[in-house]
Amino acid sequence: MAIFNLKKREIECKIVYYGPGRCGKTTNLEYIFKSYKKQVTGEMVSINTEGDRTLFFDFLPMGLGKIKGCDIRVQLYTVPGQIKYSSTRKLVLRGVDGIIFVADSLEVRREKNMTSLKDLQANLKEYGKSIFRVPLIIQHNKRDLADEGIPLMSVEQMDRDLNRQLKVPSFPGSAIKGTGVGVTLKACLMETLKSLQKEFKWAK
């Protein structure tokens, strides 16, 4: 559920990057923070959690127009994967509007991807959301590593693994080089807004 800030005439929505540890969620966010600096409001909050970093910043997407005369402000989060960070995860996932699932293209991480996606489903369920209904985009990250001869899964195989039932948009990407980062985010924003608008019409 997006938050309506009537004082500032803003709609605040929450987009969360989810995925197995070391898959590149943080790199995605860092790239966005660097290259869309003008649209970023406020500083980047970075918390060192075990084996990973949790990031957060506010983002004002351009050219998305207004909903009912309200600006749209996006909060971007990554969520720590470890089981023990349940309070953080709960805080981040509660009221989430859109999710970007970052999958690791390394062959050795195949199982990790699938467990993490299952995890996401379980977590969303806990907060009363269905993975099939929440706006979701999958990014197959680390495609650049193929050039270095590291065995990767094919995009088709990854879609089969992760996206067979979900049938959500998926994009190849390389967060470290920046390819696919913008596209993924934009796609997620579009999905999120679509679903928000649907929600408003529903309410009317």
């Binding site: 938050i3 004082k7 605040e12 500083e43 918390i47 909060q75």
Partner: protein, 402 residues
Amino acid sequence: MNESMVLSGSLCFLSMGDIIQLLGSSGSTGVLRLINRYAADPGFVYFSEGNPVNAKNGDRDGLNALYSLFGWVNGSFEFTREAIAADKKITKSRMGIILEGMKLLDDGHTKKVGPATAAGKAADLSRSPSGAAIVKGPLVDYMYVVDEEDFFDGEHIVEEGKHGSWIWVILEGVVDIVKESASGTVPIIRIGDGSFIGSMASFLLQGHIRTATAIAAGNVQLGVLDSQRLAQEYAGMSREFKIFLASLDKRLKQLTDCITEYHDGNVKVDDILKDKRVLIRQGKTKEQQLYVVKQGRAFVVRDTENGPVVLCHLYKGDFFGDVPFIHLAQEPEGASIYSSENIKIAKVEAGSMQNEYNRLSTTFKNMVDNMAACMCVTADVVCHSLSSKKTAPADSSIRQGG
């Protein structure tokens, strides 16, 4: 209700992180007050235009205090809108505080302050070497608990010498029973979950005077017992059983008094036992018989390594001997009975008392059992305090000699 109080609720529904976000998005200025019954003092967070600028939790302030408040998973909060004068000690961004606070909590750096930890604290107390054993009672029968009360660490629950007839059962936590003596406060016993505060004497006379002080050791949750219902039950008992209970209660009171008396060192055991004859010899009698004193005086005496210790004085109407349904660890196996010359005693049929005991309500039975357990421990404390008294002067004389 205070007019400037604009938001209040329960922390288990809206967590610290949620509240900060909420106040942040509304850009509020004011004071957030948190109340947790497991913490002695309320916590405060000061907000200026939606950003936390300072916090206070006990003697901590600033960011540390704010992070520690994330551990308050239980309790209530209220936000009052007002101008704040607090120094700006926190400059970290709102979201940074929230995420860091949550992370510290998940990492276990911030301690959770709630019911689970209170239990943990109690467990710590029972392990502490300084404290004697904690007398725990049987499972609490909630049918008789009419209200719950919380006491913080160090708070006095009842005070010696004050009037009062309420009886509590400890639902959670540890309580120290102490008595005042000429030479200061004397610890008597530690009691824990299921034990009772307040004695049977409460039923006997209105405006009963408390015989000892009860102090909460750590935070304690007490159940107030339905004393009217208990008094009614007491009133319905046979005269003999009533006297028996009163006699038990007197013994416990005497045992506690003994501790202070021995502590002050004004007991002359030899004087008391002069010209007295032994009715029951400690550990020697196989006879299982309960007696009542009809005339004269008797004494319950335990033989220890440091000589005989007088535990109780018995008068007309008091019982002694073997009680089949409760374990007192006194006569005949753990103490002797001495008596005056003019003593007259009568045998008591314990069978009917046993039946009456079996018919007691759970809570009343618990009270009797708990009283017996306290008597066992207190008797040990009496002997122990005497032996430590006796060895202490010996030490000093050596020092003088050297």
